[in-house]
């Protein structure tokens, strides 16, 4: 299982690059930073599949960080929500596979892309679960760069007020946004203390450590009656050495040579699965 997940992360990375290269557009760095979280969510945590997607009892995943839609699309294709060949049309004229999550694509819960929207919607969805005494859980992925949006903090208050321990917000904490380091653009640290003071239960995790991610999500709710925050420490552009922590890959598109180099690097990672897996 773990080896399979490890391989999936690499395959997902290759596909993200493939479709961004084909489309000549996309948010490369952020998709590579969050893909391990999505891998664990869709392959270990979420009770969501093409077969139960219309069920009111399914878990919900809402990607607030809409810019990294390429990561979501390759995972949804892998889970069978739509044929992967559809992604050949990514960002092309008339395609449903646009640069942000849209409900025109099966498997996408909410239209996002404008930032600071995912958490309030997730709070409403989680309140509905409590009202209906249903067991489904709601997960939302936020970028650290979108945290200054005030709507996040409004929603954080409501989540605590309504004791939403069925809600999990995950911050893809890669430390970079389009302009530069998040600490220099608008420093939101200490994020953990801020959310804790808002009444949340907070966990830190290495956002690329699949085992640690699984263990973290398995431990929900971290504290009964408190909403869950997972601060996933990630590397923007993770997996492709020349992209890692490099600002220009926020929405940079590789050249053909760069693309080949990236695929080679990822193929090499595939044949060296760590021993502890």
């Amino acid at each position: 299982m773990k080896k399979e997940l490890y391989r999936k992360s690499i395959i997902y990375r290759k596909k993200i690059l493939k479709y961004i290269f084909n489309a000549n557009a996309g948010h490369t760095g952020g998709s590579l930073s969050c893909i391990d979280v999505l891998n664990v969510l869709y392959n270990h945590v979420l009770n969501v599949s093409p077969g139960n997607f219309s069920s009111p009892d399914r878990d919900r995943y809402i990607q607030s960080k809409g810019h990294s839609v390429e990561a979501l699309f390759v995972v949804l294709a892998d889970k069978g929500f739509f044929p992967e060949s559809d992604l050949e049309t990514l960002c092309k004229y008339g395609s449903h596979y646009i640069g942000h999550p849209t409900r025109k694509v099966k498997g996408v819960e909410q239209n996002t892309g404008a930032l600071g929207h995912g958490l309030p919607i997730s709070v409403g969805t989680a309140i509905a679960a409590k009202l209906d005494k249903k067991d489904y859980r709601v997960f939302t992925l936020l970028g650290d760069g979108e945290l200054p949006e005030g709507s996040n903090w409004e929603a954080a208050l409501t989540a605590s007020q309504y004791k939403l321990d069925n809600l999990c917000a995950i911050i893809d904490s890669n430390g970079l946004q389009i302009t530069g380091p998040t600490s220099e653009v608008c420093n939101t640290e200490p994020i953990d203390a801020k959310f804790e003071s808002f009444g949340w239960a907070v966990r830190h995790v290495d956002g690329h450590d699949l085992t640690a991610l699984m263990q973290t999500f398995d431990a929900m709710p971290f504290t009964e009656g408190k909403p869950n925050l997972v601060i996933a420490h990630t590397v923007k552009g993770k997996g492709v050495s020349y992209m890692e922590n490099a600002l220009k890959w926020h929405h940079g598109v590789p050249t053909e040579q760069q693309y080949e180099d990236a695929l080679n690097e990822l193929d090499n990672a595939m044949v060296t699965v760590p021993d502890d897996f």
Binding site: P56, R103, E109, Q110, N111, T112, G113, A114, G116, H117, L119, P120, I121, S122, V123, G124, T125, A126, I127, A128, A129, L131, D132, V138, G150, S151, E154, A155, L157, T158, Q161, Y162
Partner: protein, 325 residues
């Protein structure tokens, strides 16, 4: 439906504020449907929803003064099939949370019923921060939302019931003033997107919406009594989609048209009608009455209406001017 406590009496002399009718209608709906929820932003008092919250505490979500969150939370609730009414002063709901209305409700097709309370200049003396004179304009430009400003208690009750029965996003706008019935209530006489003809006349047409329909009706009666001029009066309760068939019928007579609204003259009912008719090739004499592009004068709603001519005499005077041109 259990209506003993909450039935709206649409009889002469029982005028209530439309907002009270909204609250009573919502309670009647909630009686038999636990899926009916109201979400407020510290607005349960001004929204006349204290009784609702007391009677149905499990169906009332309070988010505090946080309008963006109000709409986002409402969208999340609606995504699970709940019938959600998100209630907030119209000025804040449609400006502060506009992006949430655009993305979380309309674009995402989450069927929230957005209730803008104390709309227009209902908060008269509180000034421009609290006036909502832009809501028609901004929401007209957003795809997939119906925009409604009921005039009297009958239209309000019908609008709430019928909006609740849909799975579509709605914006409904209410003021604070007691609104007399415009004419005998007839349930077959209310349909979204269809203007209500209050008075049929021959010389000029008044197209009004919300709380300006009543002074328009009074102005028509004054013109009839004082000058023998007969005006058609229409309550165009649905701003979007407009009743284009009715507009064409009115314009085809060639008579002047006066639009009246508690909204900026920019982007509201008047411009919507003008745009449609001009593109259809009609060239009737046409005048838009509303609030001009300025910092609004303060006072009560009635005083502000008087100041800008949105009163019985002001509308009648404008009609006489238009008829002489």
């Amino acid at each position: 439906m259990s209506t003993t406590e909450t039935t709206i009496e649409n009889k002469k002399g029982t005028a209530k504020a439309n907002l009270e009718v909204f609250s009573a209608t919502l309670q009647a709906l909630a009686e038999n449907d636990r899926g009916v929820l109201v979400v407020t932003s510290d607005s349960r008092g001004s929204g006349k929803l204290v009784p609702f919250g007391q009677k149905f505490p499990a169906q009332h979500i309070e988010v505090g003064i946080a309008e963006q969150n109000l709409v986002g939370v409402a969208a999340g609730l609606a995504s699970t099939g709940k019938k959600v009414f998100a209630v907030s002063p119209a000025c804040f709901l449609t400006a502060r949370a506009l992006e949430q209305i655009k993305n979380d409700v309309a674009y995402s097709d989450n069927p929230v019923k957005l209730i803008g309370i104390s709309a227009g200049v209902s908060y008269g003396a509180l000034g421009s921060t609290h006036h909502s004179l832009h809501d028609f304009a901004v929401l007209r430009a957003i795809n997939n939302i119906t925009v409604v400003a009921p005039a009297d208690n009958f239209e309000t009750e019908q609008a709430i019931k019928k909006a609740a029965a849909t799975t579509a996003p709605f914006y409904l706008r209410f003021g604070k003033k007691n609104m007399p019935l415009l004419k005998e209530a007839d349930e077959s006489d209310f349909e979204f997107g269809k203007g209500r003809v209050i008075i049929e006349g021959d010389d000029i047409t008044f197209i009004a919406t919300g709380e300006t329909v009543y002074p328009a009706k009074l102005a028509a009666e004054k013109l009839k009594n004082d000058f023998g001029i007969s005006a058609t009066v229409i309550s165009m309760h649905t701003i979007k989609p407009l009743d284009c068939d009715l507009l064409k019928r009115i314009a085809a007579s060639g008579k002047p048209i006066l639009t009246i609204e508690e909204h900026s003259v920019y982007g509201g009912l008047g411009e919507a009608c003008a745009s449609f008719l001009l593109q259809q090739g009609y060239r009737n004499r046409f005048k838009i009455m509303g609030i001009p592009d300025e910092y609004t004068v303060t006072g009560s709603q009635a005083e502000i209406f008087n100041h800008y001519g949105l009163s019985e005499s002001g509308i009648a005077q404008e009609a006489l001017t238009l008829l002489k041109e």
